[in-house]
């Protein structure tokens, strides 16, 4: 009997000494993110710092692989088991907003007087990708663009000066590429240039800027009709495929096989030029970056530059109680308070207006190029059916690049598929 009493006493003592008064009041928040090692390490560090800075909010930070991450978020939200805060990529915003998976953010809780006040502190249009009907649904933590990385050593070997001879137009890229490409017999052993071929979201990020440089668009202004099979679309697709089919400076089958990090081909010296995001600077590391140089995305007409703008942002679950939503806002405010640190850890700039004026930022490798490309950048096509549109465009590109299908025919088929998707509720 004494044993039972002892156990009961221990249990009661244990319960009584559990979370103290502060612990009992602590709000628990869960934050989910996609996997990106440099980014995740910094997020973890910030969470630890947040815990040290205050005791009222406890944050549980969880990371999931990129491919299933957004599907996991959706399923969790639909079953009311979603996290309090989650990271979302901007192309998915229309879908998530339509499905009411995010609460409109309160600018005052984020330290701004109003949405307009907040917008005035960011690069023009930088928040647009996260807004709908005047409401902001997600707070950007990192923003990116697609720029051209080139291997300086390969340039020098080919008698080119990487500081002067880098391509500013796609035509120049093709000409320079012919000097960089390497063959053994008829086998290409080093590509001069490559686009990523492994995923539909990369296809959109790399194809749409070219499409827009030709004056085209994937959808009409209403967003209900596919227009990518226009003359501009055909020109863009022809250009997209020309490096492999016409100029023969690219082997598209290589980057299909180098998923999930196609840019690694550049770091390994298998390709001399590659279009990728600022995060690659952190992923490659300083040693590999010594051989590389970053320049602005090539253009059809350098006088009218069009580039790509994208980002990852923090959103709040609408199903959680008001006090947790408020705590989530507080955490988000804490997380983005040091844009310079985000840059140092992830190599991604934050699109705030005064970013380049922050002491130390300008010394970050190629930050001026990234900010320049971001300033002419546009978000990819906004549609609740983005995933289906991107998949259809990816297949269209594969048909042209891998199977040599006529671009017009392939884009007509893509438009049929996209229109079918758009016609569905």
């Amino acid at each position: 009997m004494w044993r039972i009493r002892l156990v009961l006493a221990l249990l009661i003592a244990g319960l009584a000494s559990g979370p103290g008064p502060a612990g009992a009041q602590a709000t628990k928040l869960t934050w989910w993110e996609h996997a990106n090692p440099p980014h995740n390490e910094y997020s973890k560090e910030l969470v630890a710092r947040y815990h040290r800075a205050q005791s009222k909010v406890a944050v549980s930070y969880e990371v999931f692989p990129m491919t299933p991450y957004f599907k996991k978020v959706t399923v969790a939200m639909s079953t009311k088991t979603g996290p309090d805060i989650f990271t979302v990529m901007d192309p998915l915003m229309p879908t998530f907003i339509e499905k009411k998976m995010m609460v409109p953010l309160d600018p005052r809780s984020l330290g701004h007087a109003s949405i307009d006040d907040m917008k005035s502190k960011y690069l023009p249009g930088a928040l647009d990708g996260y807004m709908a009907e005047g409401k902001l649904y997600a707070l950007p933590i990192v923003s990116g663009t697609m720029s051209l990385y080139l291997n300086k050593r390969h340039f020098e070997e080919a008698g080119l000066d990487p500081d002067k001879d880098y391509p500013q137009t796609w035509d120049q890229l093709a000409r320079i590429g012919k000097k960089l490409v390497k063959f053994e017999g008829d086998k290409m052993v080093r590509e001069a240039f490559d686009f990523a071929m492994h995923s539909s979201s990369w296809t959109m990020s790399q194809f749409e800027p070219i499409l827009r440089q030709f004056g085209g668009s994937t959808l009409d202004p209403t967003g209900r009709k596919c227009t990518v099979n226009s003359e501009a679309g055909v020109k863009a697709m022809r250009l997209r495929a020309s490096f492999a089919l016409e100029h023969k400076i690219s082997d598209p089958t290589v980057s299909v096989a180098t998923h999930p990090l196609p840019a690694e081909d550049l770091a390994q010296g298998r390709v001399s030029m590659f279009v990728t995001h600022p995060g690659s600077v952190a992923q490659f590391g300083p040693e590999k970056m010594k051989d590389l140089k970053v320049v602005s995305l090539p253009q059809v007409d350098p006088q009218k530059p069009v580039t790509h703008f994208y980002g990852f942002a923090l959103a709040v679950n609408p199903d959680i109680p008001a006090d947790r939503q408020k705590a989530a806002h507080g955490l988000m405010r804490f997380l983005i308070q040091n844009p310079k640190e985000w840059l140092e850890h992830t190599a991604y700039p934050l699109p705030v207006k005064n970013f380049l004026e922050i002491p130390g930022v300008r010394s970050h490798p190629y930050i001026d190029v990234f900010i320049q490309d971001m300033s002419t950048g546009r978000f990819v096509t906004r549609s609740p059916k983005f995933t289906e549109i991107a998949d259809a465009m990816h297949r269209a590109m594969e048909r042209v690049v891998l199977n040599r299908v006529d671009p017009k025919r392939s884009l007509d088929q893509a438009c049929q598929e996209i229109d079918l998707a758009l016609s569905k509720p």
């Binding site: 959706t74 879908t95 499905k99 290589v254 299909v256 096989a257 059916k385 297949r395």
Partner: protein, 311 residues
């Protein structure tokens, strides 16, 4: 007794009727015991298999995007699938993959089992080596093969050694599906070889000895003893290999994401994409029901064909 053994006086009917717990006869108690033994498994199946299957079938008549309430659409989802060229493509890919994997598996597995059934040095180790691929996680298998199939990977390296040029296995429409089929066969054949091996070892040696004494050769013994007695095992292997191949998902997801140009988008991947990427759970459920119907049809046809053979 005709067999010469002494007869044992038993009075089972009296014993059975002497005590009747719960008022049940012995036969009914046996039935009840059997039922109670399978009840936990039945409960598990009902809760975690049949109920979700019934729910999926029901959902196939609704429009549901995971977030809003389901809305009844009758046969709308089935009509949408009928009009969707990607569904037809996925169905075709699934059929090609299933037959491409299952049929070679039947023969390879049987051949392997016959080899492994022979006396040879290190037989245990060899059997283990063949069985190891099955013990590997599917995701690991997919990743390893992705590296092997890389344009600069081991497979091309070996081919280059015999003078065959680089093949971009996973990025060419011609080779992507065969590359996945090869992995399916590589992984499945040893599993079914083990099943065949169990079937082979259940055949009494006496039959072979008697046949050999009658002058039957190797082929005749295989044709008239092994094959007929392996028929139940063959039925199992055929059904299971088809079902397993029809459900393939991880390899296309990890290795090709259904590409290039949809040539490796099997039906399970189409279902996953439709439901969780495009938020059309009703259509995904309808496609699942069609996949289930196909699996059932394949199974019934095989049962019928092989049972006729057994009879």
């Amino acid at each position: 007794m005709s067999n010469g053994l002494p007869s044992v006086p038993v009075s089972l009917p009296q014993a059975r009727t002497a005590a009747r717990p719960f008022g049940l006869t012995y036969a009914n108690r046996l039935r009840l015991a059997g039922f109670l033994f399978v009840l936990p498994a039945l409960f598990h199946f009902a809760l975690f298999k049949f109920y979700p299957m019934a729910q999926a079938l029901l959902l196939s008549f609704f429009r549901y995007d995971l977030m809003s309430s389901p809305e009844f659409t009758g046969l709308g989802n089935y009509r949408a699938l009928y009009e969707n060229p990607l569904f037809h493509q996925a169905l075709g890919v699934s059929v090609k993959y299933t037959l491409g994997v299952a049929i070679p598996e039947w023969f390879l597995a049987l051949g392997l089992a016959l080899l492994l059934n022979r006396a040879m040095p290190g037989r245990g180790l060899i059997r283990l080596a063949y069985f190891l691929p099955i013990a590997m996680s599917q995701i690991v298998v997919a990743l390893v093969w992705k590296f092997l199939y890389h344009p600069h990977g081991l497979v091309n390296g070996l081919l280059a050694a015999v003078g065959i040029g680089r093949i971009n296995w996973l990025s060419e429409e011609m080779t992507a599906l065969p590359a996945l089929i090869a992995i399916g066969v590589w992984r499945g054949a040893p599993l079914f070889a083990v099943v065949y091996l169990a079937g082979l070892q259940a055949i009494p040696r006496d039959y072979y000895e008697a046949a050999a004494m009658d002058g039957a050769g190797l082929w005749q013994r295989f044709r008239w003893i092994t094959l007929p007695l392996l028929r139940p095992t063959m039925l199992f292997v055929m059904v299971m290999s088809l079902l397993m191949a029809m459900k393939v998902f991880t390899n296309p997801l990890v290795m090709t994401e259904g590409g290039p140009n949809g040539t490796t988008r099997v039906l399970p991947y189409f279902i996953y994409e439709t439901g969780f990427a495009f938020f059309r759970m009703g259509e995904a459920a309808a496609a699942s029901s069609i996949l289930f119907g196909l699996a059932l049809l394949f199974t019934l046809v095989q049962f019928r064909l092989l049972r006729r053979g057994l009879a």
